[in-house]
């Protein structure tokens, strides 16, 4: 027991233990608050979305921080997950009445489909050098939004009906429309729970931490730091980066699935370029390659506009100013050297995987 304790708080495991503790403690505290009725409606309505954003941001950090590839389509992967989950959950409603099992199945389906889409995008793009993943994922996000906006899916006693661009579902009597073009998903049964969100974050953390400590993870970071040197020691760059892209997309898909099942109605326009950018902002402000930073930055930045609500119209303006000021200050040379000196004095040294 003492050994395990020592191992948990050893230098290389400290960050990881902190991540798990943050999530577990936050979950317990918030759940107690929620169940005892000491939580405002606003806060309780934000619980599941925050979990989704944190998971998507952890996944994006794998891409941007550890793999060094800019991804501007995380919102698109979430969208794929969300609408897959809506269809899966809606069509299984009659077969599996248990919402927990249905939620798990829907999230797995969302993750698998989003991961597959990530793989398809990665095949051609990762062979190239440069910011191509950024541009192609940006384009992908737009395409996905536009395709889902034109998708109609319905369910009746004869099975599933799909229709594209124009609504020709022709549902039989008693049929149910699951996705209705520009309106998006309507009448979705809200089966997402805060517990599922917390578990999802823990799963995402476990996957990413274990990956970056593995042989594959070290290859991913080597490919980021020096492509040519990594190639010369026999690392297959495209395959290595692909692993990061697929895992990131799949986790984003699962997060999107949870998000989709948390809303009774959801339009595809939610998963646009702005969402992708928002998640990227969480990752960059939290620190590339630092998952604790990602968790904290996401929580603060999701809550910030809500906390600033009393300032009404000025809140997004203040948000923008804060964003710019943080970037300018954190990149200020004087600040950087000052921080470095402080760090050396306290003897902590540079973060192991910053």
């Amino acid at each position: 027991m003492g050994n395990l304790f020592k191992k948990m708080f050893s230098r290389e495991n400290r960050g990881r233990t902190a991540s798990y503790l943050i999530i577990i403690i936050a979950y317990i505290v918030l759940e107690i608050m929620r169940l005892s009725g000491n939580m405002t409606n606003l806060l309780s309505s934000l619980l599941v979305p925050v979990c989704c954003y944190i998971t998507a941001a952890i996944a994006l950090n794998l891409n941007v921080g550890f793999s060094g590839e800019l991804n501007l389509g995380q919102g698109g992967f979430m969208g794929v997950g969300a609408f897959t989950a809506v269809v899966v959950s809606g069509s299984l409603a009659g077969v599996i009445p248990n919402p927990v099992i249905r939620l798990i199945l829907a999230m797995i389906a969302g993750a698998v489909l989003a991961g597959a889409v990530g793989w398809l995008i990665g095949i051609p793009v990762l062979k190239l050098q440069g910011d191509y993943l950024a541009i192609v994922t940006l384009a992908f996000g737009q395409i996905i939004k536009s395709l889902i906006t034109n998708l109609y899916v319905g369910l009746d006693k004869n099975g599933m009906h799909f229709s594209f661009v124009d609504n020709h579902l022709n549902l039989a009597e008693g049929g149910k429309v699951l996705i209705s073009g520009p309106m998006g998903a309507t009448g979705t049964e809200r089966i997402a729970t805060f517990t599922a969100g917390a578990v999802l974050i823990l799963i995402a953390l476990t996957i990413v931490y274990n990956l970056i400590r593995s042989r594959h993870g070290r290859a991913i970071m080597a490919a980021r730091d020096n492509r040519i040197a990594a190639e010369s020691v026999g690392i297959h760059i495209a395959n290595t980066k692909m692993l990061a892209v697929v895992i990131s997309a799949a986790l984003a898909g699962a997060a999107g699935a949870l998000f989709g099942l948390n809303n009774a109605s959801l339009a595809a326009s939610k998963f646009d370029f702005n969402l992708s950018i928002l998640i990227l902002v969480y990752v960059v402000l939290g620190g590339l390659g630092n998952l604790n930073g990602t968790i904290i930055a996401t929580t603060v930045l999701v809550l910030l506009p809500e906390l600033l609500r009393s300032l009404q119209d000025y809140r997004m303006l203040i948000y923008a100013v804060i964003l710019i000021v943080i970037m300018l200050v954190s990149n200020n040379e004087k600040m950087k050297t000052g921080l470095e000196r402080l760090r050396r004095k306290t003897g902590k040294g540079a973060d192991s995987h910053a």
Partner: protein
């Protein structure tokens, strides 16, 4: 005949994209940054021209000039305050700052002028040019837009290739360190680049709003993203590339709307971009840069 008329209106739309794409490509070529706030400079330009025409009752040409001045100043101020301190910072920090500037402009505009849509006054007497005995009608606006785009392209090419400042710009695009050693004031060149790009954004704003006459705070987002796509399509960093990319994008979008589906036009445009990048990663006219070890 229908095809020809679609082609011409596509060229009109493409001309607007081309003018915006020039702003993206020049800034990328010299400062090596993606200026995501460029779309919002267009929006400010549209508001400037709108108020010049409606509130101050200025004639169209003068309004365009005023809008250009506003945008140029705005572009230079943004560069000085937000981007210049980040010259040595990572690309991602600059990207996030640009996103911050974009939010700032959008929300500032929303506070100042409300989010309600304003109707942009027409800048040309309506009507269209009838050709081939009325079989082909081309709107005067399309013709004007194409002519403006050609004029911009000619002036910009002459400026970059013939003047000393243009030469300095090309030197900075090639190698900033070497340019500095040759006595070029790189900061000044970057400011000039932002000034030109933003001035062009004002022209594009007026032409865009003349075609789609509504002004609102998020007006610049979509043309911004599309023009960025056009710049990548033609080869980012290349001026003729931005021109070609913009025109092709406009034509593809118009034809996709006319013959395939209005709702799917955007998806088709971005799909074409992906296909082009897969075949020719550096874009249509981009240069292939080999990495030095």
């Amino acid at each position: 005949m229908a095809l020809l008329s679609y082609l011409i209106s596509g060229l009109g739309l493409g001309s607007v994209y081309a003018i915006i794409a020039l702003g993206y490509t020049m800034v990328y070529g010299i400062a090596k940054m993606l200026n995501f706030a460029h779309g919002d400079v267009i929006m400010i330009g549209a508001y400037a021209a709108f108020f010049a025409m409606t509130r101050f009752g200025l004639p169209v040409l003068l309004s365009v000039l005023l809008s250009m001045v506003v945008c140029t100043v705005l572009g230079v101020v943004i560069e000085r305050l937000a981007y210049k301190p980040l010259r040595q910072a990572s690309n991602l920090s600059v990207l996030i700052t640009a996103i911050g500037v974009s939010y700032l402009l959008q929300n500032g505009a929303q506070l100042l002028w409300s989010s309600s849509t304003k109707v942009f006054p027409s800048i040309l007497a309506g009507g269209s040019l009838q050709l081939f005995g009325g079989k082909l009608s081309v709107s005067w606006l399309s013709i004007l837009t194409i002519l403006v785009c050609i004029a911009v392209m000619v002036c910009l090419t002459l400026f970059v290739n013939k003047t000393l400042t243009g030469k300095a710009m090309r030197a900075c695009a090639e190698d900033k360190g070497a340019a500095l050693l040759m006595g070029i004031n790189v900061d000044r060149i970057i400011s000039i680049t932002f000034a030109i790009g933003s001035g062009l954004a004002a022209i594009a704003a007026v032409l865009f709003c003349a075609a789609y006459p509504s002004v609102y705070p998020t007006l610049g987002s979509m043309p911004g993203i599309k023009a960025f796509t056009a710049a990548v399509f033609g080869g980012i960093g290349s001026i003729p590339g931005a021109f070609l990319g913009g025109l092709l994008l406009g034509i593809i979008e118009t034809l996709a709307k006319a013959y395939i589906s209005t709702q799917l036009a955007d998806a088709i445009v971005f799909a074409v971009l992906i296909i082009v990048l897969l075949i020719k990663p550096s874009g249509l006219l981009g240069r292939k840069i080999s990495e030095k070890v």
